[in-house]
Symmetry: C2
């Protein structure tokens, strides 16, 4: 098929590579230029999102934030300027569910279909084609794009109408952040009380406190490996989407709000680029106590 891919960063480049490896033509655009590796795999470098939309039938985007998606879709030489009826736009960025509904309606007005399809699994999942993909849109459009999603990911779920994919991603980011914070509070409590946090983590694995976060991020907190992984500043962006949405919908997310504030504290201490397991540092700084020694270099 003739596919488009806009945004070829850490995530987008390997994802586009999987589409190429699947035997598809890929028309590509990236603000900072299409990476040589992707061109070497056979991608055709376009001059603008509009050119991508003219040449491809299904156009994927994978960019950092809501404003970037708005720009790629409706900015100067954006996708909208190259669209014709019958094409499909698939935004795989993690952005606002509310804005997504508006974007979908505007794309639908061109006689085109829209899917929101954010992912989790990070750079590792993008490279391994093992991403979790959470999709919002119609069943018919989902069915048409599903074989392409299957080239990039494994656990692929149609959640509901447009916006539902982004909503599901925000729900994911709420749980991940709050589970990290929970492990941080528990290990801080234990360590300050004199217990070995590594033994506490080990004892809790397998019981009701078991989580992927206790396993992975608990270990990072104990071993003090705060190299990303997933950066705190990006996770804070996702919690901001949760809190903006909560405000708009009239619901209260008290622990999400607290945790977003703790991320601000991390950033005040130079932690914008720490892995999100570094959230424990905000608790440690407040307590003037560190749960575990920094390992010798």
């Amino acid at each position: 098929m003739k596919l488009g891919f806009i945004g070829l960063g850490i995530m987008g480049a390997p994802m586009a590579g999987h589409l190429l490896a699947g035997g598809h033509e890929v028309f590509a655009f990236s603000r900072s230029g299409v990476p040589a590796g992707v061109v070497a795999q056979g991608a055709y470098a376009c001059a603008s999102p509009a050119e991508v939309a003219q040449k491809a039938d299904i156009i994927f985007s994978m960019v950092p934030d809501t404003s970037h998606v708005a720009d790629v879709l409706f900015g100067d030489k954006g996708i909208a300027q190259g669209l014709s009826a019958g094409k499909t736009v698939v935004d795989m960025s993690s952005i606002s569910p509310i804005a997504t509904k508006q974007f979908a309606a505007k794309i639908n007005a061109f006689g085109c279909d829209y899917l929101d399809a954010p992912v989790s699994g990070g750079e590792v999942g993008a490279k391994a084609a093992s991403l979790t993909i959470m999709v919002g849109g119609s069943q018919v459009t989902f069915n048409r794009v599903q074989p392409l999603f299957a080239l990039m990911g494994k656990n692929i779920t149609l959640i509901g109408d447009n916006g539902s994919g982004q909503t599901c991603k925000v729900a994911n980011q709420i749980i991940v952040a709050l589970n990290i914070e929970a492990v941080g509070e528990a290990l801080l409590f234990a360590a300050k009380a004199g217990a070995d946090p590594a033994k506490v983590r080990q004892a809790l694995m397998g019981g009701l406190a078991t989580s992927r976060i206790l396993e992975l991020h608990g270990e990072r907190m104990i071993k003090r490996t705060f190299t990303p992984g997933f950066r705190i500043e990006l996770h804070q962006k996702d919690l901001n989407l949760a809190l903006e949405g909560a405000k708009a919908m009239g619901i209260s997310l008290p622990n999400t709000a607290n945790t977003q504030q703790l991320m601000s504290s991390c950033m005040a201490h130079g932690g914008a680029g720490w892995d999100h397991s570094g959230l424990v540092r905000a608790l440690e700084i407040a307590a003037n106590f560190q749960i575990s020694q920094t390992p010798a270099a």
Copy 2:
């Protein structure tokens, strides 16, 4: 061996039963009388904790709260009045780590050993002899009691000195409560935004948001099955231990504090006896929105 067991409630009765089934003599006391089933299994009903301590070499206790342990140990006709040097006291209740250190020192002064060995796994784990047991005390004493723990549980860990078992249990209860609250916030956000919470939960299983709580308690929130399980009033007691400890140690546990307050809101709405997954009700009540319909009776 000659064992003692004090506190034969929902947890204690099956635990004492496993010790009897393991071929040990069990001298038993329970404030409300030794259950007929435990006597039928061969337990000898004693008139007081003091009598249990006179007749047994290793005395287990499994009672609701710190004040009950203090009473069983040092109250009128308590364990201390029947102790002689060389005996071992093993408290399997979930109580204050700080009080536990004091209790252990007072028992040690009789020439006796002390272990704190709280459990997780609930009534199901107690009956199936699959409890997780988190132990504080000396290695020598742990080694002596370990074969008896193995009759009652599976994942048995010596965490550190006296108090460390209770500290680990508090850490467990922090993570469990905060993970429940996280799933509640995420499903509330998703449902209010119009996504099906059951599909969201399904999409998140297997990814970074995976936890035993998302699996079990997430399902209970969606299916509205708030029959305990583990009662909110008991979990709130455990979070109070966390917050008292945090205050004493000079550390801040912001999400534990928030979550304890949400449990108070549940109790204000008649939820003391709800399963702890009912914590989502506090978020729902604040939002005047329910994530899922109550199933037809």
